[in-house]
Amino acid sequence: MSNDTVQYLLRLGDNALILSHRLSEWCGKGPALEEDMALANTALDLLGQARLWLSYAGELEDAGRDEDALAYRRNDRQFCNLLLVERPNGSYADTMVRQFFFDAWHHLALQGLCRSADERIAGIAAKAIKEVEYHLRRSSDLVVRLGDGTAQSQKMMQRAVDELWTYTGEMFESDGVDEQAVVAGIGFDPVALREPWLSYVREVLSEATLRIPPADAFMQKGGKQGRHTEALSYLLGEMQYLQRAYPGAQW
């Protein structure tokens, strides 16, 4: 198996792992008990998916790295998640808009992966898409209710949309790793997800009485290639602390 396939799987695993971490930071601090439970549930689903992707990446790499070695002993430059998922939680409005942008993309991405020629990838995607259908339903519903709620909630949601928009462009950029996955028939073409994503997001934001920022706005990128925002290395510092402080220990 090529390094590109390993890299492709790491991207999928890192997205799920890093977003799961962010959601788990809300534990016990959500705006309602039901939200605490729902966020923990989403965080658990994503963590489960991350473990499947990373384990498969480790097997294909065949260098003796398991899910934990990949999660806990890579540096930020070796992480290849989208910038969007590492952005700090901010307010609950920021967290929900980040989730909505990601879920809408994730659902389309998994639809593509369900058709993968690699049976293991198709299998993981088939399991994950059932969870992500629910994530997307939930985040879309909350975006509508919070956008069309009070003047204050609408303002907070609009600000979150405007702030996070610049991190969405990267989801639809293709590079050599993506191209190789398309050629091998194991992955999807990210460029092709842009229109369906925009159309879905436009529809939900419009129902939420929120303005969609211009599609040609300036977009940040680099996460997939390991060039992250300042937020990631702090996240990893926290996540990896025990494995780094006690190398080789079994937990």
Partner: protein, 331 residues
């Protein structure tokens, strides 16, 4: 335990033949082991005591998310992280069913939460201690959840139907929680010397606060006697504490850890372990608000609630608009 020092409002226990009418029929049902359900007649004292006890238990589950939540982002493996996340999510779920059980007694969740935030309602003293290392997550599962099970298994048979049924479900999940805690301790005790020292340090810090969770001796307490007569407290604090000590000592021996009590020894005659004197001054201090984390825990809950006000308001506003839209559409 999760409910400590619960007031019943009684100053003297009355025997069955001193009761009459509804109160006598109520006590006869309890004595016959028939569950009391929300719409049944019940003495005001029974209702208020249960609200205090169940809401205190619910608050403990909710505040109890914080010390363990403190380590979710730092869990040492992805599997441990997933188990811990699921466990903390279960606790939020326990809080929800317990609030719902208390609501059947005529109090709203909002009122209970206001009472927690104002300091009027209490939660278990144990959650005012800090989680300083990963081993504390093991110790909490093993000792705190272990103590919770000792206390809650009898409550599955308590007289109030909704509380008893909630406890059945809670106990099943607590038993999984305790096993995961013990499993963390086992991994640490089989690990490096540093890991084993971490485990011993956690046991040293959690042992006495766990024994205090059961509350001071209540053999002579009117509140406990009243709760016993009402079938909502089935064993004394000392009996439950003894059961916890007896079940835990062999587990500590299996782990190769030392319980931090020089007076702990097997008493052949009683068939139980004797243990040293508990420092009740510390317990009362923690209950009064002077534990290491009381202020932080309450602040975290109040902040979450206040920062979430806009969110809850928005959902209500949206629901109102939807209702108006459907009325307008129907007109």
């Amino acid at each position: 335990m999760y409910a400590q020092l619960v007031e019943t409002g009684s100053t003297r226990l009355r025997k069955l033949d001193e009761l009459s009418g509804d109160e006598r029929r109520f006590q006869e049902r309890i004595d016959a082991g028939i569950k009391i359900e929300p719409k049944d007649w019940m003495p005001e004292g029974y209702r208020k005591t249960l609200i205090r006890q169940i809401s205190q238990h619910a608050h403990s589950e909710i505040v109890g998310q914080l010390p363990e939540g403190n380590w979710i982002t730092r869990a040492p493996t992805l599997k441990r992280k997933a188990i811990l996340l699921a466990k903390v999510q279960d606790e939020a779920g326990h809080g929800l069913y317990l609030y719902s059980a208390a609501e059947t007694l005529g109090v709203s969740r909002d009122q209970m939460i206001d009472d927690l935030h104002s300091g009027k309602a209490k939660y278990s003293s144990i959650f005012n201690y800090p989680t300083l290392s990963w081993a504390d997550i093991g110790a909490i599962g093993w000792l705190v959840d272990g103590s919770a099970i000792v206390n809650q298994i009898p409550l599955c048979r308590c007289s109030y139907g909704p509380y008893a049924r909630a406890m059945v479900r809670v106990c099943k999940e607590e038993s999984f929680h305790q096993r995961q805690g013990f499993d963390i301790m086992m991994a640490l005790c089989r690990g490096t010397p540093e890991q084993k020292a971490m485990a011993q340090d956690a046991l040293n810090r959690w042992w006495w606060p766990c024994l205090m969770m059961f509350g001071p001796s209540d053999a002579e307490s009117v509140n406990s006697a009243q709760s016993a007569q009402w079938g909502i407290k089935l064993f004394s604090n000392d009996e439950l504490r003894q059961k916890m000590v007896d079940q835990t000592v062999p587990q500590a021996e299996y782990l190769g850890l030392t319980i931090p009590d020089p007076d702990l020894k097997w008493n052949e005659e009683k068939g139980h372990y004797d243990y040293g004197a508990i420092e009740w001054a510390e317990f009362y201090n923690v209950v009064k608000g002077n534990g290491p984390c009381n202020r932080d825990r309450l602040k975290a809950r109040v902040d979450a609630h206040e920062n979430g006000a806009w969110f809850r308001d928005a959902l209500l506003a949206y629901a109102d608009k939807q209702a108006q839209r459907s009325t307008a559409a129907a007109a």
